[in-house]
């Protein structure tokens, strides 16, 4: 009988806190600046320089903790993690160790198997290292760019509650959503502001004790997370099934070879000699500050999707698409609220929501671009509402609205102005329509005769002629009037 195995996976995620300045100094955190231009004595670790915590970074870390259901430790401590590497300016990293800022949280994930709650062990604050640029100098020299040194990070340590690569990916996506929607992190995997390490082990199904784990590093996309973990589970299963043993080690995902490779074994593991950083007093988040941060935590993204389905007439798919980015979600909410207001209750909330959702998905998203937590929209959400209000009150029809939107994007003009300047308004005045209908019918006695003779298709000819003469009108209205006039005949 062959043994069946299950995977045990826990993720450690490093997220850059979305601040303007670094964790312990006033240097900029902007990405892509020329090397070594955002540096000072503090982040360079010059002799005599001292760290001072960034209050905004702490507030964001607490916000992340609250959004993930953690208990916030109101007096936590910074600790030094001691090791040598050229990208580490002080010979130690300021992190947190035995007294982290947040503990005991959770995150709900949804996979094909349903919804599951995943535990979060802790979320602590730390500073990033600099960036080694190998071979950037003359010959084989390694140069170091200290712009990144001291960037504020949170490390989110998840419980080993995940059982498949699919769950791991779902966890990571859900976590990214939470961090982006709370404004804590910009979710940018390419720029490395959202990074993930995975601890993977296997054990026979039914066994409680964990197997020996391997740590996977450098997995920088959702696709690779899934592939790397799938590969690693298969590797460990093959190893154990053939009588081998998993060795505790750090492995890295090679996207070119599509497999995990050994980086270093546990024997080379370092003793970091953690101790409380004597340069930094206990990190105190008092009741007033905690309350202030609590108020700043927005509605959870999952709750928002449910509410939109319940109140704004969206499908689950709509809600998913419109929460692909926090700014898009805000845009949608602003536009649908604005439309509802503009129509003064003539359209129910769910119908207004659904109209806006459809239009944004079909037209607007094509011209929205996002970068980190920012997004640029072709026009304000209010303009979208103004445009859709024109459709609602039958000034223009849905097809014309698309053309008007193209004009709005190109010129930045208000939809009303475009409609007026281009004469796109439908004729709504039924007496004006009746006059034209009578004129057209009078001018085509032959066609009228064949209609009377039972050729119903001739009606279409009349509609075309009338619409051309009116340069746009409400088709339903034209139809009504035409039928009446023909019946008189």
């Amino acid at each position: 009988m062959t043994t069946r195995y299950e995977a045990v996976i826990g993720l450690e995620v490093h997220g850059q806190l979305h601040t303007k300045t670094k964790m312990f100094c006033g240097c900029s955190t902007a990405y892509g600046l020329p090397p070594n231009t955002a540096i000072c004595p503090v982040c360079l670790g010059l002799p005599g320089a001292l760290p001072v915590p960034n209050r905004q970074a702490i507030a964001l870390a607490v916000r992340a903790g609250l959004a993930l259901g953690c208990t916030v430790r109101q007096s936590s401590r910074f600790a030094r993690k001691n090791y040598y590497y050229p990208d580490l300016s002080k010979g130690y990293q300021i992190s947190q160790f035995d007294l982290p800022l947040n503990e005991k949280g959770h995150l709900d994930i949804t996979t094909s198997a349903g919804t599951k709650r995943v535990g979060i062990t802790r979320i602590h604050v730390e500073e990033d290292a600099a960036k080694n640029l190998h071979g950037a100098g003359a010959g084989t020299d390694t140069l170091v760019d200290f712009n990144r040194a001291g960037t504020p990070l949170i490390e989110i340590v998840g419980e080993p509650d995940l059982r498949s690569a699919e769950e791991a990916e779902a966890y990571l996506r859900a976590l990214r959503d939470v961090l982006m929607f709370t404004g804590v992190n910009d979710g940018n995997l390419e720029e490395g502001s959202f990074r993930c390490d995975a601890n993977v082990s296997i054990r026979p199904v039914g066994q409680e004790k964990f197997g020996t784990r391997c740590e996977l590093k450098n997995i920088n996309s959702f696709k690779f997370v899934r592939k790397a973990i799938e590969f690693e589970i298969a590797r460990q299963e093959a190893l154990v099934s053939s009588g081998g043993k998993v060795v505790q080690e750090t492995r890295t995902w090679s996207s070119t070879q599509e497999k995990t490779l050994s980086l270093r074994s546990k024997e080379e593991a370092q003793d970091y000699r953690y101790f409380a950083d004597p340069d930094l007093p206990p990190l105190v988040v008092d009741d007033a500050w905690l309350a202030e941060i609590r108020v700043s935590v927005p509605e959870p993204v999952v709750a928002r999707r449910e509410r939109w389905q319940r109140e704004l007439g969206l499908t689950a798919y709509d809600a998913q698409v419109l929460t692909s980015h926090p700014r898009i979600a805000e845009y949608f909410e602003a536009a649908s609220a604005s439309l509802e207001r503009a129509l003064g209750g003539k359209l129910s909330r769910d119908k207004a929501g659904k109209r806006v959702a459809n239009f944004i998905q079909a037209e607007a998203l094509r011209v929205v671009s996002t970068s980190g937590l920012d997004a640029s929209f072709p026009c304000s959400a209010e303009r979208i509402a103004e445009l859709l209000a024109l459709v609602e009150d039958e000034t223009i029809n849905g097809k014309i609205a698309k053309d008007v939107f193209v004009d709005m994007v190109a010129t930045g003009k208000a939809p009303k102005d475009i409609v007026a300047q281009k004469g796109l308004a439908q004729v709504k005045d039924s007496s004006a329509i009746e006059q034209t209908v009578r004129d057209v019918v009078a001018k085509h006695p032959k066609e009228l005769a064949s209609f009377k003779a039972g050729k119903a298709a001739v009606k279409g000819f009349f509609v075309g002629q009338i619409m051309r003469a009116l340069k746009g009108a409400n088709p339903a209205l034209v139809n009504d009037v035409l039928e009446r006039v023909l019946a008189e005949g």
Binding site: P41, L44, G45, L46, P47, G48, A49, L50, P51, V52, P53, R80, N82, Y84, P86, S89, K90, G91, Y92, V144, D271, R273, Y274, F275, P278, D279, L280, P281
Partner: protein, 492 residues
């Protein structure tokens, strides 16, 4: 003779127009040229910078501006303080050639007060030592007896003031490094409460203990400069936001009824007889002034030396990790990264390497609880002892050091014996309390220091008692023979 004048007197004469700051600076620089070859107290003299700062003071006066409390007063700074554009070596080969690109907070405050920085003083390497003999560059000779040590680790700062090269200097005190050399050189020095003076720009030895403290030849000068450098600094997260108060206004105040705590048990043990008799006489003086003398006990203070030699090396092992040759200072290049680290860091001297190894060991997995955690507990207990003592008294009186200045080379072979030179200065350091050392007599012609310790942030009371004591005695008037009357430089 300018070099014998006090800071307060020099400032008066600058304000009145009797003296130009530039002339005072020249006189100090001349005295350094004339005397420091014998003493060895300076590692770097900044003549050009000093004259420029002095000229700025003279210009400010000519423009009718209000002059600061240290206008035109020369001051020497320990070489672990950063002064923009000036070398800072910590008396170590590992920082040879490094020029600080920024000013320490205390330097900014001194500049704003009109002080004239004349140079950087010799010290034990990275402030690790009690005799200044671990300097990688040269020895410092005690101006009172050139064959003796000036004390440490701020030996150069002490000797420069004792030898009349500047009326003031700054040192740093981790376990006694301003108080003990002040005692050995017959000076007044304050170790402020931890958190009172910003450490920004002080190259760290042990961050939870380090405080910058001044040397002066009398209590008034010490009070003036202490006031200038104290106060909250947003760049040091451990600096405390409490009003500093006026130290100078404490001078000359009555001390009748003040309770002085004496720790009888430790006094006799291991102290030279000359020190014991000077202290006994000091107790009598304070009693005569109307102080109430009470017995107090500090039972856990006996563990101070062991606790200190765990905490301080632990912090130093981490603080000194940044000296890896990667970003500044010399690098001993090797094809292998680890070897480069090893060879570069071999530039540290023996005592520094000893403490880095000790500190690395006590923080290691499996040893942390037995050593570091226990030493932290000892600190808490020592603080509690003081809290209990301060229920009964306002200041605690002890000798500053168990002996007068010892001979150069006398203790270098035995680090443990050297460590014991700090038995009286370590307990206040571990408890973070303010302590002052004032001259209290001579033993065989060498100065003895009296240490007074007060409650946290109660420097005012220290100055009050020290000032009354100084007023009632003439100990501070004793000058190092050979440096008391030497006339060098252009007096006005």
């Amino acid at each position: 003779m300018l070099h014998a004048a006090s800071a307060s007197a020099l400032r008066e004469r600058v304000v009145s127009g009797e003296l130009r700051a530039v002339d005072i600076a020249r006189s100090a620089l001349d005295q350094i040229v004339g005397a420091d070859a014998r003493i060895g107290s300076f590692l770097h003299v900044d003549g050009e910078g000093a004259l420029a700062q002095a000229a700025a003071v003279d210009r400010a006066r000519a423009a009718g501006e209000t002059l600061g409390p240290l206008a035109g007063v020369p001051i020497a700074l320990k070489d672990n303080l950063c002064v923009r554009g000036v070398p800072a070596t910590c008396a170590s080969k590992i920082l040879e050639g490094w020029i600080a690109p920024y000013d320490a907070t205390v330097v900014e405050r001194l500049r704003a007060a009109g002080a004239v920085i004349v140079g950087k003083t010799n010290m034990d390497e990275f402030a690790m030592g009690s005799s200044n003999e671990t300097s990688a560059y040269k020895l410092v000779h005690n101006p009172w007896d050139l064959s003796r040590a000036p004390g440490g680790s701020s030996g150069g700062s002490a000797a420069s003031v004792a030898a009349g090269m500047a009326p003031l200097s700054l040192g740093s005190d981790t376990g006694g490094s301003v108080r003990q050399p002040a005692a050995f050189c017959g000076l007044v020095a304050l170790k402020p409460t931890y958190g009172r003076v910003s450490r920004f720009g002080l190259i760290a030895f042990a961050s939870s203990l380090d405080q910058i403290g001044p040397f002066a030849r009398d209590v008034r000068d010490c009070a003036i400069v202490s006031e200038v450098i104290s106060g909250r600094d947003p760049r040091d997260a451990t600096s405390v936001d409490l009003p500093v108060g006026s130290y100078v206004s404490e001078l000359g105040r009555d001390v009748r009824g003040l309770r002085v705590g004496v720790v009888r048990s430790t006094l006799a043990e291991g102290c030279e007889p000359g020190v014991v008799s000077a202290i006994d006489a000091s107790i009598d003086t304070l009693r005569r002034l109307g102080c109430e003398i009470v017995d107090v006990a500090l039972p856990t203070a006996e563990h101070a030396v062991s606790a200190y030699y765990i905490v301080a090396p632990a912090e130093c092992s981490s603080n000194l990790a940044r000296f890896d040759g990667m970003r500044y200072g010399p690098r001993v290049e090797s094809p292998d990264l680890l070897e480069t680290y090893g060879k570069t860091r071999a530039l540290f001297g023996r005592e520094v390497r000893r403490r880095i190894m000790l500190g690395t060991y006590v923080l290691s997995a499996g040893y942390y609880d037995a050593f570091y955690a226990k030493a932290q507990k000892a600190r808490t207990l020592i603080s509690r002892d003081y809290a209990a003592a301060f229920e009964r008294c306002d200041v605690v009186l002890t000798p500053t050091a168990p002996s007068v200045a010892f001979g150069l080379g006398a203790k270098t072979k035995n680090p443990l014996e050297m460590y014991l030179a700090d038995i009286f200065t370590l307990p206040p350091s571990l408890a973070g309390l303010p302590a002052i050392s004032v001259p209290c007599g001579l033993s065989d012609g060498l100065p003895v220091g009296l240490q007074l310790t007060a409650k946290a942030f109660d420097e005012g009371t220290l100055f009050r008692v020290a000032s009354a004591f100084e007023h009632a005695t003439d100990h501070h008037a004793h000058r190092a023979p050979g440096f008391a009357t030497a006339s060098v430089g252009g007096a006005a």
